[in-house]
């Protein structure tokens, strides 16, 4: 009996070293990750590293530079245009994000009600997000045209203004105009994501609050907003990051003008580096955005941590 059992067991086969290495979990894991890692390196790490390196050189287009240490940053420190762009970027991000949040939340609350043609309205709301930025920016170009602006025309017909409005030519108005365009484009993302969040709130919570005597405003304040806060943190982090690094809209609408009033750090960096040819300086401006972006990410990291009420237990 014992011998037959031993015989029926498959004989241990000799395994080569290569085979054993290939069957190792860790080796296999690295092997499978290699393509993805290569892509990441090629398209993410290498350009980023190159950018940071360029920021420390005086490279120009067509001429390899030499290492200059912090010289670019020192000259930016004394550069009023750079500081103006920092100010613009903050103003743009701050005002646009707040408007996007408030209008997006308002839209989400509306879409969460029982509306006729709900699906259609939701699809329409997504449009600004779906249209390529450059395309919508060109539409805004026309909307904000100094002579043929439809907004000016409407206001004139309503008798609210007399002459024409220089939407993109006056520094203050231009700032408001590009912010408006950015808000228009960013609302769908905020609204649709918050709508998804709203739909995860069980209706019975609102019913319980109604029975507890809450008015609709109190329900919004005590139920909707706290329940939505984790989603709000995610959405607004992304919204801030997108707005802070915005480039296309400004570049098409104003190219940073008038008088650099709408220059953001991203557009200034591009302008110095490519049309201006100062690759090193442009790179330094771009790198200067990194601390701010890291700050935003840190903020979201702590903001995104699960609330105490979300922890522990299961449903």
């Amino acid at each position: 009996m014992a011998t037959t059992a031993a015989l029926s067991r498959p004989a241990p086969r000799e395994t080569t070293l290569a085979e054993r290495i290939l069957q190792d979990r860790n080796v296999l894991g690295i092997l499978f990750m290699l393509p993805a890692a290569a892509f990441l390196f090629l398209f993410l790490t290498y350009p980023l590293g190159l950018g940071v390196y360029l920021g420390f050189t005086d490279t120009r287009i067509g001429r390899a530079g030499v290492w200059v240490g912090f010289e670019n940053y020192e000259s930016l420190w004394g550069d009023s245009v750079f500081w103006l762009s920092v100010f613009n970027t903050f103003l743009y991000t701050f005002v646009a994000s707040i408007l996007k949040f408030m209008l997006g939340l308002w839209l989400a609350l509306l879409l969460n009600e029982h509306l006729p043609f709900k699906a259609l309205i939701r699809a329409i709301v997504l449009l600004p997000w779906v249209v390529p930025t450059v395309l919508s920016a060109i539409a805004f170009w026309w909307i904000f045209d100094a002579q043929f602006s439809i907004v000016t025309w409407s206001l004139q017909k309503l008798g609210l203004v007399q002459g024409s409005i220089n939407w993109l030519g006056d520094p203050q108005i231009a700032r408001a105009s590009v912010i408006a365009a950015n808000v228009w484009r960013g609302i769908p993302f905020v609204a649709i994501t918050l709508l998804a969040g709203l739909q995860t709130i069980p209706p019975s919570l609102h019913e319980a609050a109604t029975l507890d005597g809450a008015t609709s405003w109190q329900r919004f304040w005590h139920i909707t907003l706290p329940m939505l806060s984790p989603i709000i943190a995610v959405v607004m982090t992304f919204s801030v990051l997108f707005t802070f690094t915005d480039f296309q809209l400004i570049y098409v609408l104003t190219r940073g003008g008038p008088l650099n009033a709408t220059h953001l750090m991203a557009t200034l960096s591009f302008q110095r580096a490519i049309p201006g040819g100062q690759l090193g300086e442009g790179a330094a401006i771009a790198v200067a955005m990194v601390p701010f972006l890291l700050g935003a990410i840190m903020f979201s990291y702590f903001g995104l941590q699960r609330r105490r009420w979300q922890q522990g237990g299961q449903d």
């Binding site: 069980p202 019975s204 919570l205 019913e207 319980a208 609050a209 109604t210 029975l211 507890d212 005597g213 809450a214 109190q218 005590h222 139920i223 706290p226 329940m227 609330r307 105490r308 009420w309 979300q310 922890q311 522990g312 237990g313 299961q314 449903d315």
Partner: protein
């Protein structure tokens, strides 16, 4: 505390009628249970009392005021939801205090009431926890605590125990009953579980497809069901129904087997009827009808035996232990005084 009157209340969702004219009188301090199969409209009726659904027709009065168009917050009712609907971002204490805070009650009063309710329900240790950190039974208690703190005119419960395990359900049943005896608040309680209804209610309202089939005390419904539906719904195991006809004051099944009747109404003579026999109203009897044993299920305290009478299977329950094998013959006889007779066409009880 208040009486609740429901007068010919109707409800349609769009064009679909769901409740077809229901009238119920609930006395001050009464514990009334709406019971019926899923989808019969119990929750809808309860939500109309609460003001969460509008009333299509008829009238609902709480404490003699018509509340049809009164917003929920003015009705002074508290509701315990099936999924408890606890506010997940508030602690147990805040959940219970929420309604009083909204009303702007003084902090001291809020604390007294919350700690009193917590004491009654044994939640004192849990006041700082969030709902996620509680077991199902504890959450259920918090939901009740939230209702108690309000000290409302009427408590409404919508299947509050259906998410609990069997053992906890039995324990909570007793607890809710005790709570009612202590607070004496008018209570409307919805369940699909007839045992819950039988054990807890002062008055049971049996609903079916949007109408009230019968109302009465638990034992009334058990002893004198108005129709086949109530007879089959109340009691566990369910009543056996055998079709046949009445001949010379006795019941004859379709297979020609004669079963005793405790005095048949004269009108029933010769008519097709349904013979209703509760499993527990059968005894072993050497002079009884012979039946074949199909399944034996001893539970210790009693023995449940499925037997075959002619072609029909009957469920029977005996106090004594029965040591026979499936396939064996036993003789049983129904207690004629406890047999129910229904008209086959209408399903209505035939009164002797």
């Amino acid at each position: 505390m208040a009486a609740v009157e429901i007068r010919d209340v109707r409800k349609s969702f769009g064009a679909t009628p769901i409740i077809h004219g229901v009238s119920i009188d609930i006395r001050d301090g009464e514990f009334v249970i709406l019971v019926g199969p899923s989808g019969c409209g119990k929750s809808t009726l309860l939500r109309m009392i609460a003001g969460l659904e509008n009333v299509t027709g008829g009238e609902i009065r709480i404490a003699d005021r018509v509340v049809n168009n009164m917003p929920p917050k003015e009705r002074d009712i508290a509701m315990v939801f099936q999924n408890y609907a606890l506010y997940p971002h508030m602690t147990v204490a805040d959940n219970m205090a929420f309604s009083m805070k909204l009303r702007g009650a003084p902090q001291a009063e809020i604390e007294t009431r919350v700690s009193k309710a917590a004491g009654i329900l044994g939640l004192t240790q849990l006041l700082d926890r969030f709902p996620r950190q509680l077991s199902g039974g504890q959450r259920q208690r918090v939901a009740m605590g939230r209702a108690i703190v309000r000290d409302p005119q009427v408590f409404l419960f919508d299947e509050p125990l259906s998410n609990l395990d069997a053992k906890l359900r039995v324990a909570m049943r007793t607890e809710i009953k005790e709570l009612h005896q202590r607070l004496k608040t008018t209570t409307v309680y919805v369940t699909h579980d007839q045992i819950e209804a039988m054990t807890m209610a002062d008055k049971i309202v049996v609903m079916h497809d949007g109408i009230v089939e019968q109302m009465g005390s638990p034992l009334d419904l058990y002893d004198r069901p108005d129709n086949v539906f109530v007879a089959g719904f109340i009691g566990s195991p369910s009543m056996n129904f055998i079709t046949g006809r009445v001949e010379n004051g006795a019941f004859v099944t379709g297979d020609g087997i004669r079963l005793p009747l405790g005095g048949a109404p004269a009108a029933a003579e010769g008519r097709p009827v349904i013979y209703g026999l509760r499993p527990e109203h059968v005894s072993l009897d050497d002079n009884g009808v012979p039946v074949e044993v199909v399944v034996i299920e001893p539970t210790g305290s009693e023995t449940q035996v499925v037997v075959k009478l002619g072609a029909q299977e009957l469920v029977t329950v005996f106090r004594e232990r029965i040591g026979v094998q499936p396939g064996a013959q036993i003789r049983i006889s129904p207690n004629p005084a406890l047999v129910h007779l229904f008209d086959e066409a209408t399903g209505k009880r035939l009164v002797a």
